[in-house]
């Protein structure tokens, strides 16, 4: 691989990387928020929300993401919904992310010793204060590795949306490979960029206290 190739390829790949990061961030933010709602539904007292959450989680964890993307890509127009491909793609990533995030959140919250919340309530904290100031932070410490892992999974899984025509990092390197006839170099650069992005995420959310 020579420098001339890198110099020529890098601007386009970086534009693709920006798209990948933007799409992934949107999917992760939406996914974690939806995941919180699904987690709440899965621990609801009423049966309806619990059944919905169980079905939701088993569908999005049980069907390959690529198949979900293709379904969204073909099914939505079939249903008469004229949704841009990018929105369908990000939405599918987010819904899939939500299923995993819901399981992580549910498990993390279940790990918090009930006594810590009881102590908070007896000291006069309201229900929501006890949740936000005690239960959630304690759970967050336990969930952090799993949530960071899920964020990284989504960032990597976003390469799949290249198949429905979104011009992100993987799609850009495919185009580069076919226009330069240098597939090995193109994909090596592409992989290196993914690595740098994910390494940045891992470093940013490293547990400093435990190190």
């Amino acid at each position: 691989m020579d420098w001339a190739f890198i110099e020529e390829a890098l601007p386009a790949l970086l534009r693709g990387a920006v798209a990948t990061v933007a799409v992934s961030l949107a999917a992760i933010a939406l996914g974690f928020a939806t995941g919180a709602a699904i987690a709440a539904a899965s621990t609801a007292r009423a049966r309806g929300p619990r059944v919905f959450a169980a079905l939701y989680i088993s569908f999005f964890r049980g069907v390959p993401l690529l198949v979900q993307l293709l379904l969204a890509y073909y099914a939505l127009p079939f249903l008469g919904l004229d949704i841009p491909a990018i929105v369908a793609a990000v939405g599918t990533l987010a819904l899939c992310c939500a299923a995993y995030a819901a399981e992580i959140l549910r498990g993390g919250l279940a790990l918090v010793p009930p006594g810590t919340v009881e102590a908070a309530r007896l000291l006069g904290l309201t229900r929501s204060q006890a949740f936000l100031r005690i239960r959630l932070p304690i759970a967050a410490a336990a969930m952090r590795p799993a949530l960071v892992g899920e964020a990284i999974m989504i960032l990597k899984a976003s390469s799949l949306i290249s198949l429905v025509g979104i011009l992100e990092l993987t799609r850009t390197s495919q185009a580069l490979a076919s226009s330069t006839f240098m597939p090995l170099q193109s994909y090596a650069l592409c992989g290196a960029i993914y690595l740098v992005i994910n390494f940045t995420i891992m470093a940013a959310f490293r547990d400093r206290r435990r190190a």
């Binding site: 010793p113 007896l122 006069g124 904290l125 229900r127």
Partner: protein, 254 residues
């Protein structure tokens, strides 16, 4: 007739087929220190949890100062066997949080009061440590400071030393003994019979969810006329191990 400070009437709690509390009658006056003793599963902890409003009753009623206690009202404080400190906060933050959120004190006021409370249990030096960096005895003393800080009218101790070794037990019991002398109203569940006998003004013996004996601590332990109580207390005598003579203090100039 004036209403007692704490009143439990025909208190019942049943979970599924298990009768945990089978009609408890108990009244406690302000300033009393009541020791609750009895075998495991006799309902001591359940009784405290019902009084605190943590567990629902299935019969009877509990009134503290004439009102039904509920978590969140800050009237009843509780010190738990498992300490239940908040691991993400320092000792000082553990004490200060409820002062800020529930007692609406400013950050500075809450911090000052938290430090004063930690000083009272001898832990001011460790104010910036997190629970994981404290011994069990120190954690329990932080938990006591946290409870005292919000000035509950009644403090429940649920086997506060059950997960501590004898030395740490002593340091925690000394703190509780100090509180008993300040006129706080307290209910103490403990298997430390010597401690209950010396600190409590009154002792209540529970078995199978019922109060079998209720009387002045001295007579409950000395006379132990009730046969079930006699058998229970007798088991403690078998647990006295060989112990070395206390070290003779070195007299200066000898």
């Amino acid at each position: 007739m004036t209403q007692p400070f704490l009143l439990a009437e025909r208190l019942e709690r049943r979970v599924g087929d298990t009768q945990i509390l089978a009609g408890i009658d108990l009244s406690v006056e302000k300033g009393e220190v009541v020791g609750l003793i009895g075998p495991s599963g006799s309902g001591k902890s359940s009784l405290l949890r019902c009084i605190a409003g943590l567990d629902p009753l299935t019969g009877g009623r509990v009134l503290v100062e004439g009102r039904v206690p509920a978590p969140g009202d800050g009237i009843v404080g509780m010190v738990f066997q498992q300490f239940n400190l908040w691991p993400h906060l320092t000792a000082q933050e553990n004490v200060a949080l409820a002062l800020r959120l529930a007692r609406k004190k400013s950050r500075a006021e809450a911090a000052d009061r938290a430090r004063a409370m930690l000083d009272r249990v001898g832990l001011l030096k460790l104010a910036d440590r997190r629970p994981a960096q404290l011994s069990g005895g120190q954690q329990q003393r932080v938990a006591i400071a946290r409870t005292l800080a919000v000035e509950p009218h009644l403090i429940l101790f649920d086997e506060p030393t059950a997960s501590l070794d004898p030395e740490l037990t002593t340091e925690v019991l000394d703190v509780i003994r100090g509180l008993a002398e300040t006129g706080l109203t307290m209910l103490v569940v403990s298997h430390e019979m010597g401690f209950v006998a010396s600190v409590a003004s009154r002792a209540v013996f529970l078995d199978h969810g019922k109060v079998l004996v209720d009387g002045p601590a001295r007579s409950v332990f000395r006379d132990a006329a009730e046969p079930r109580l006699r058998r229970f207390l007798a088991t403690y005598l078998q647990r006295v191990a060989w112990a070395p003579e206390p070290a003779t203090p070195v007299t200066p100039g000898a």
